[in-house]
């Protein structure tokens, strides 16, 4: 039916002209949508950067917030706290996530054939990753608040915050590492195994180095998510503007600082400055990811 209507439509010239106008209108519509989306990106980023750069100077970057309702002072301690938070979270989550991915890609296939229990566990693990990826961040916050802050008595601290943050980025790390491991050609593994290497030896000396760029991409993605995350750290990190002296101390990340400046003080200019730093970090991370993945695809297709 559809085909016939097309043919009859195409027969008359008038209809052809109508189709052409429809096509032009449609194109205009989608181009408008695309440009609206891009304009939004540039509007937000441009506005925040242009406003933010007015307050960013040497002193802003190297002194701590002074506290109080006027929002005086710089952001030095929040930068350092963010770095601590990112490093600590990655230290917790990277071995866990990469290890999980290694099991799911390298071992799960054989293991599920051998025993029913393992097959069930692997299925549960995969479901867990899918469910965890959809959990809203405030629920991670509640979880971290009740488990780490209250139950385990870590208090509002870098440790509580990074454990909760680790739960947030775990599915990201597992998925990207899994994808990276899957791109390693079978022949690599077979070659190494046939030389007499054990399985684990093959994995860490052949498979992991080959999959490294992909794994690093996942880690960089997670860094971006931790830097951008606020809700979790709002309920687990506390928000002290002093520099944390150990991982049991409270701190304040950059994103949290933006929120606290905007909601508790009138210092919108300083909030914009902090937001500009955040956006620049995110842009640099995104560029890094793009470069990494481009190199990765070039290498894979080059083979």
């Amino acid at each position: 039916m559809e085909a016939q209507s097309y043919i009859s439509l195409a027969k008359t010239k008038k209809n052809q002209k109508q189709n052409q106008t429809g096509q032009t209108l449609g194109y205009i519509l989608v181009w408008a949508c695309g440009f609206a989306a891009i304009a939004t990106v540039f509007w937000i980023i441009g506005y925040v950067l242009s406003q933010g750069f007015q307050v960013i100077n040497y002193e802003f970057l190297f002194t701590r917030p002074a506290g109080g309702v006027s929002g005086e002072g710089g952001i030095s301690t929040t930068i350092v706290s963010t770095v601590y938070l990112v490093v600590l979270t990655l230290v917790i989550v990277t071995p866990l996530g990469v290890g999980a991915a290694i099991y799911l890609v390298e071992y799960a296939g054989d293991a599920t054939k051998e025993s029913k229990l393992v097959a069930f566990l692997v299925q549960a693990a995969r479901t867990g990753v899918e469910v965890l990826a959809g959990v809203p961040s405030i629920v991670f916050g509640l979880f971290g608040f009740s488990l780490f802050v209250l139950y385990l008595k870590f208090g509002f601290s870098l440790l509580s915050a990074s454990l909760s943050g680790a739960a947030l980025v775990l599915p990201t790390i597992i998925r990207t590492s899994e994808e990276a491991l899957l791109t390693v050609p079978r022949a690599y593994r077979e070659g190494s195994l046939s030389l007499g290497a054990t399985r684990w030896h093959t994995i860490y000396s052949v498979v992991l180095p080959t999959a490294l760029p992909g794994i690093v991409t996942g880690i960089v993605l997670s860094v971006g998510r931790i830097i951008a995350e606020t809700a979790i750290f709002w309920v687990t990190l506390g928000g002290s503007f002093y520099l944390p002296q150990s991982i049991m101390h409270s701190g304040r990340s950059l994103a949290l600082h933006v929120y606290m400046l905007a909601s508790e003080t009138r210092a919108f200019d300083k909030a914009m400055g902090t937001a500009a730093i955040l956006i620049m970090t995110i842009v640099i991370l995104n560029l890094g990811i793009n470069l990494l993945s481009r190199r990765l695809t070039a290498r894979v297709s080059g083979k």
């Binding site: 999980a100 099991y103 809700a231 955040l278 956006i279 995104n286």
Partner: protein, 464 residues
């Protein structure tokens, strides 16, 4: 056995001295640890216990820990004496941990002198602090670093037995299985902890009161006995802001997806796609700040009484921008996944490109696009910080400001996520429990929405 004797014969004398020396040292350390553990058991008063510390430990705990350490160190010493590779690895791990500990404490020290002050620290004192830190580090970790270097150097003289290799294989397999279970364990922990905290409110306040009540008046504001915990205003606020975001964001996203997948030349796509993906990375507080500083004054220009600029409209616009990257990229993938034959068939029949898009490609990509929209809804439901910054956070059920029902969107409201984030830091008792119940409700809503999306994606994959 024969193999090992062979190796030992070829040993350079330095390596032998080093290994035996280390083994002897470790043996002595083990002996000392053992003796002090025994001494501690006889004199429990040696360690004063801080009862309010994280883990309230007494001297018996310390003695047992010391005993275990002594046994471990003794085992390593014995293994090292016999040139066992596992002993070498264990020693290496211990040394690296020791070095890392000092490295981290030095970093903390240096950064806290440079960045913690209210005034800028001059370069000269930064250099002094860094130099001192380096010296301190070398003093404490210099010998361990040297040992690590030497242990790495003499690897060839250590033997890895087949039994050890087998043991490693097996252990690694189980450890990795444990790691793979981490995600599901966290999911279970989330369920257990939020549910146990929320259980109190289900018992004392009641499920029906919370799910059907239209008034939210936590006790900390008006006294505990009159407190009411109805979640309907927040549910309505969440649904309305999400609905607004869908109405604004989805047409824009699908238009962009069509543009990127079908219409735009590759060069444009190279620029547009990363730019749209950048939106996903921008922190939500930055969107919130933008809404407060830029959008709120713009919305305030709409001439309606009691219009503050903060409210559902502001929240919907911000949310719409936030869901654009999610919806666009998944919808684009869905459009690209449509088999080439559909497009070619339609074009061959004389349809224009636009007719092909609207009548052949979009219907075929329908379920994928629907999944994209639903995942966008999931993202919008879970958004927290941007919402509490722009939506006004009023606890009343949102109503139109004037006779015109559209002014509903100019009124302030509160989302489920915002309800938790605004009040959790000072809530206690039934109030806190009710907030955890809010979290459970939100979690279930998002789980439901996401499972619909997953079902759609799977079913469309199966059909192809």
């Amino acid at each position: 056995m024969i193999k090992r004797q062979n190796k030992v014969k070829n040993l350079p004398r330095v390596v032998n001295w080093l290994t035996k020396g280390l083994a002897l040292l470790l043996g002595l350390a083990s002996l000392a640890g053992f003796l002090s553990a025994v001494y501690l058991m006889i004199n429990p008063g040696l360690i004063t216990v801080a009862s309010d510390s994280l883990f309230a430990l007494n001297s018996i705990h310390y003695a047992i820990a010391m005993l275990l350490m002594a046994v471990l160190v003794g085992l390593i010493a014995r293994g090292l004496w016999g040139y066992r590779n596992w002993a070498r690895m264990a020693l290496l791990t211990g040394l690296v941990l020791f070095i890392l500990y000092y490295f981290i404490s030095i970093i903390f020290m240096i950064l806290s002198t440079i960045f913690a002050g209210l005034t800028v620290v001059p370069i000269s004192s930064i250099l002094r602090v860094v130099g001192m830190g380096l010296l301190f580090f070398l003093m404490n970790a210099g010998v361990p670093i040297l040992l690590v270097y030497l242990l790495l150097k003499i690897e060839q003289y250590f033997e890895e037995t087949a039994r050890q290799r087998e043991f490693v294989e097996k252990t690694v397999r189980y450890v990795l299985l444990g790691m793979a279970m981490s995600a599901i364990i966290i999911v279970i922990l989330i369920f257990v902890f939020t549910m146990t905290e929320a259980w109190d409110s289900i018992q004392t306040i009641g499920l029906d009161t919370m799910l059907l009540g239209t008034i939210w008046r936590p006790g900390s504001i008006i006294g505990t006995e009159n407190a009411q915990f109805g979640l309907i205003p927040m549910v309505v606020g969440t649904i309305l802001s999400t609905l607004g975001a869908i109405m604004i964001g989805v047409p824009l996203s699908i238009g962009t997806a069509i543009l990127l997948a079908e219409v735009a030349p590759p060069a444009v796509r190279e620029v547009f796609r990363p730019a749209v993906e950048l939106l996903a990375g921008i922190p939500s507080v930055v969107y919130g700040l933008f809404g407060m500083v830029v959008l709120a004054p713009l919305i305030r220009n709409i001439d309606v009484p009691r219009n503050t600029g903060f409210g559902l409209l502001n929240a919907s616009i911000i949310l719409a921008v936030m869901i654009i990257p999610t919806v666009t990229s998944i919808a684009e993938d869905a459009i690209r996944a449509v088999p080439r034959e559909y497009k070619e068939g339609s074009l061959a029949l004389g349809g224009t490109h636009w007719q092909t898009i609207t009548r052949a490609i979009l219907p075929a990509a329908r379920s994928g696009i629907l999944a994209a929209i639903i995942l966008g809804i999931g993202r919008a439901l879970g958004e927290t910080m941007a919402m509490i910054m722009v939506i006004g956070n009023s606890i009343a059920l949102p109503k139109p400001l004037t006779g015109n029902p559209l002014t509903l969107f100019l009124n302030t409201a509160r989302t489920l996520t915002g309800n938790i984030a605004v009040e959790i830091n000072y809530a206690a008792g039934a109030h806190r429990s009710a907030l955890f119940f809010t979290g459970v409700l939100l979690f279930l809503m998002i789980l439901f929405v996401n499972s619909i999306a997953r079902f759609l994606i799977h079913s469309s994959e199966r059909r192809q």
